[in-house]
Symmetry: C2
Subunit: 465 residues, 2 copies
C-alpha cells in the first residue's frame, strides 16, 4: 500500500517509489503454467475461434463448469495416476479440511453437470466447453500443469446412435482442415476390438485393463517395453504378448477395414462388434471427409472409461509430438452420479499443447500486435478532444482505433503505429481540420473527405483479407 | 473404471451399470461457485462479446495470465483482508510447502506480467483480460468464491497522461450503453481530493488510509457506522469526523465540479490538484458521453493502491446491488516488481456479479437454447448420409445446423426443434429428394430449390436481427 504524506503533491514520484524499491517483490516464471505475449494471445484467439465456429455450425451449445469439483467427484472415476490440486484457504482454521480440488479434465465435470442438471437439459445434449484444467505434477520440461482444452460431447438418454460418433469424427476432421497446420491423420479404433481380441486370447478382465494401459504406452516405451510389461506385470505368456503386438501393427484405410479384420481371424463376437461399429461410423462420415482417417489397432487411449470408438489426431509433420486431440465413446460416466443410463461420445482438442507446437515451429506467425486498424495522431493537446471525436466516428463504423496518448512529433507517432502493426495513421490538419490518412506500409497518404465511406471500404477490404 | 467381462457384448448395459449404481458418487452444489445452464451461458457470451467489442474498438489487446501466482506476489500488495486459495498437490510429499496461490483479482497478475515481459511490450500498453478470480471466503449467501472479471488497463513508462483516464471513463460509458441494462451512473472521484481533505484536517498518513477504508463502507454501515469508526478506531475528534462526512455528501454533475469544490473551501494543494485532475479528465470525455457521469466525493474504493482517479458504475434500478464495475489510477503496482516507474489506470467489469443480477431480474431473457438455425430431419436411417451432406452444404454457407439423431416420426423431430428454439426444420423427400423447409414458429413450409440462395437470405435476415 502506498504511503501518502500530507501536503506532498508528487508523492508518487518520490516517497512511494523509494519505499517500493526497498521491498521489491520477486518475480519468476512458474514452470508448467504457460503465459503468452499479446501477439501470441491473438493467435490463440484465432485458433479458438476457428474450433468454436466448427462446433457451433454443428449446433453444440456452450457450457462452463466451476474450476473445482468435490474431491469425491474427481476421485470417483478411479483415475489413480492423476495428480489433483487441492484448494486450501491460506487462512484455514485449525483442522479445516478442504473437500475441493481443481478438475484435471473437462469430461468428469461435464458428466457431473449432466447428472446435476438432468431435468433442465434437452437430449441428446450436445455441448462444447473451453476451459483450463490442472494436473498437480512435479515440474518437468514440456509438461503443462495448467492447460486449455476445448471439448465437445454428445450424450443421450438410454441410448446414443453411432451417427453421433460419426458426427464427432466429422467435426474433428473439419477442425483440423480449417486450422491448416499441415497434414494430419485421425486414427480410429474401438475398445471392443481390443477387449474382443484379449478375451479370445484368454485374458482375465483385470489383465485386459492392464493390457490396454500397456499398449497405450507403445509410443513411449516401444515394442520391447510393451512386451516386457505384458509378459511381466500383466503375466501373459510371450506368444500371447506377441499376438497382441502383431494386431497393434494393423493400420489401414477406412475402406480396407473389413478385409483386414477378417484376415486377423479373431474368434470373438465382441471383436466383430467393434469392427462393425467402426465400419458403420465410417459409412456415416461424408466421403470428402474420410481421406484423413486411418484405422489403427494399436490405438488404446489410457483412460479407463472408454467403451467403444476411440480416436486421436496426430500432425504428420510432428510425429514425435503425440496426440493433439483425443476422445471416444463412454457409458458409465454420467451414470456414476445418476440412476440413469446416459452414454456419450466426445473429443478434446488440446489447445495449450497445440499453441506450444504452433509457437515453437512458427506454424501461424504472431504478427498482429493490436486489434487497432487506425492510429489517430495528435498534433497538439488542444486538438485532442477533436481527435477523440474523429476516432469515435470511425468506431461507430466498426473500425478499431487508437488515439495517440501524447502530442509527440508526428514521425514518432508513425513509428509507434509501425511498431504496433497498426496499418493506418490519421492526421487532422490543425488549421483546416481536413483529414488525411497514411498507409503505413506503402507510405501513401491521401486526403479523406468522407470518413464513413472510407471506414466502410477499409472494413470491406479488411474482412476479405 | 468399467469392468469388462470376456464374451459379454452388452457389458455396458448390465455388469458395469450394476457396479456403478452400487457406488454412486455424491453430487451437490458447491456454494459460491456459480454454474449456468446452456441458455444462460449463451447470454453470458453475448454480454462478454459486447464488452470485448468496445475494448477492441479502442485498440486494447488481449492477454491472459496463469490462474496462479507465487504467494509472495499475491501478498506483496499487502491486501490483508483477502482470503487466498493455496494449491496443494493431493499427493504432496511430507513437508512439501506450496508456494502457489490462485489470484484474487486481475490487477496484481497484470502488474507482475508487465514487469516480467517489460522488454517485449509496446508502451503505453493497453490490455484487456477476461479471467476468473478466486476468493477463499467462508461460504455465505450471495458471495462468489469464483467469479469472472473483465478488465482493461493502460500503463505507461515514466508517466501516463490524464487522457488515458478519460479513455477509460469513455470506454466504461460505451460498455454500459451497449449492454442496455437500464439507467446507470458512473461515479467519479479522485484519491487526491480525499487525501487533500484529510491532511487539511490534520490526519496523519496512517489515519488517512484508515479513513479511506471507513468511508468506503458508507453503503454498508451507514453514516453513523462510519462516524463511529472515524471517532473510534481512527481516533478523530467528532467535528473532524463530521466534516469528512459532510464532504461525502457532495454529488454533482460534471459541469458543476469547479463551483462545488470552491464552495467547500478546503485549504490544500493536494485537494485542488485532485479537483483539477477530475476536471481535466471530464473535459477529455466527448460531450455525448458525459451525461451519465457524476462526481461523488463519498466514493473511496477499498483497495490500497489507487492514487488518483477512482470510479464505479452503479445500475440506478438496483441501488442496493452496489458496484458492477470499478477502478482507478495507480502508481506503485508495477514498480513493486521492477525498478521502473510505470503508472497505470484501469477498470474491472464484474461479469459474474452482473450475470447474477441479469438472471435474477430477467434483464436479458435466456431464450436461445442452441446456436443451430436449422434442424435437418431424418426420414429413415437409409437417408441419413444424404441428410448429413445437405447439412454440410448449409454449414459451408455459415448456417449452424443440427441433423436429428434418430429417424423418429417427423412430428417428434419438429417438437425437438421447438424445444431447442431452432427456427427451421428441413425435410428431404425420400422419393424425389426435393428439399422443403418449415418455419417452426409460423408453421409455413416451402420447397427450396436453391439451398445456397436460401442459406444466404436466411443468414442476412439473421444478421440483421
Amino acid at each position: 500500500m502506498l504511503c501518502y504524506t500530507a501536503g506532498q503533491s508528487n508523492f508518487s514520484d518520490t516517497l512511494s517509489e523509494k519505499r517500493v524499491f526497498d521491498t521489491m517483490a520477486k518475480i519468476s516464471k512458474i514452470s508448467g503454467f504457460p503465459e503468452w505475449l499479446p501477439e501470441q494471445k491473438l493467435v490463440e484467439d484465432t485458433v479458438v475461434q476457428t474450433v468454436k465456429s466448427v462446433y457451433e455450425l454443428h449446433g453444440f451449445v456452450p457450457i462452463e463448469t466451476p474450476s473445482v469439483e468435490l474431491r469425491t467427484t474427481l476421485n470417483s472415476q478411479g483415475i489413480a495416476d492423476k495428480e489433483i490440486y487441492v484448494l486450501q484457504r491460506a487462512r484455514a482454521e485449525e483442522g479445516e479440511v478442504s473437500d475441493l480440488g481443481l478438475h484435471f479434465d473437462l469430461t468428469v465435470p461435464f458428466a457431473r453437470y449432466v447428472a446435476q442438471h438432468f431435468n433442465d437439459l434437452v437430449f441428446p445434449f450436445k455441448r462444447y466447453q473451453l476451459q483450463r484444467s490442472w494436473r498437480g505434477e512435479r515440474p518437468q520440461k514440456g509438461r503443462f500443469r495448467e492447460f486449455y482444452q476445448f471439448d465437445i460431447d454428445i450424450v443421450g438418454r438410454d441410448s446414443l446412435p453411432l451417427s453421433c460418433d460419426a458426427e464427432v469424427v466429422l467435426v474433428v476432421d473439419k477442425v483440423f482442415r480449417k486450422l491448416a497446420l499441415g497434414k494430419y491423420v485421425i486414427k480410429l479404433n474401438n475398445r471392443k476390438v481390443l477387449f474382443g481380441l484379449y478375451e479370445s486370447l484368454g485374458l482375465s478382465p483385470d489383465q485386459q485393463k492392464q493390457a490396454i494401459v500397456s499398449v497405450d504406452k507403445l509410443d513411449k516405451i516401444g515394442r520391447a517395453g510393451v512386451l516386457s510389461e505384458l509378459t511381466g506385470t500383466v503375466g501373459l505368456k510371450s506368444d500371447v504378448g506377441e499376438k497382441i503386438l502383431a494386431v497393434c501393427d494393423v493400420r489401414c484405410a477406412a475402406m480396407d477395414l473389413s478385409t483386414v479384420a477378417t484376415e486377423l481371424k479373431v474368434e470373438s463376437p465382441l471383436f466383430q462388434e467393434g469392427v462393425n461399429e467402426l465400419r458403420q461410423v465410417l459409412e456415416l462420415v461424408p466421403e470428402q471427409h474420410r481421406t484423413d482417417l486411418e484405422i489403427d489397432f494399436s490405438l488404446a487411449r489410457g483412460l479407463g472409461y472408454y467403451s467403444g470408438l476411440i480416436l486421436e489426431t496426430r500432425l504428420v509433420d510432428f510425429p514425435d509430438f503425440g496426440s493433439v486431440c483425443g476422445g471416444g465413446r463412454y457409458e458409465g460416466l454420467v451414470s456414476q452420479f445418476l440412476n440413469k443410463n446416459v452414454p456419450g461420445v466426445g473429443v478434446s482438442v488440446g489447445i495449450t499443447r497445440l499453441m506450444d507446437l504452433i509457437f515453437r515451429n512458427n506454424l501461424l506467425p504472431a504478427t498482429r500486435k493490436s486489434p487497432a486498424r487506425v492510429l489517430v495522431s495528435v498534433f497538439s493537446e488542444e486538438q485532442r478532444l477533436q481527435c477523440v471525436q474523429v476516432a469515435e466516428e470511425l468506431r461507430l463504423e466498426g473500425v478499431a482505433v487508437e488515439v495517440f496518448f501524447k502530442s509527440l512529433k508526428l514521425g514518432k507517432q508513425i513509428d509507434f503505429a509501425a511498431k504496433k502493426s497498426i496499418p493506418y495513421v490519421l492526421f487532422i490538419d490543425p488549421e483546416s481540420s481536413k483529414i488525411s490518412i497514411k498507409d503505413v506500409n506503402s507510405g501513401e497518404q491521401n486526403e479523406v473527405s468522407d470518413l464513413k465511406a472510407w471506414a466502410n471500404s477499409e472494413q470491406a477490404l479488411n474482412c476479405s483479407g
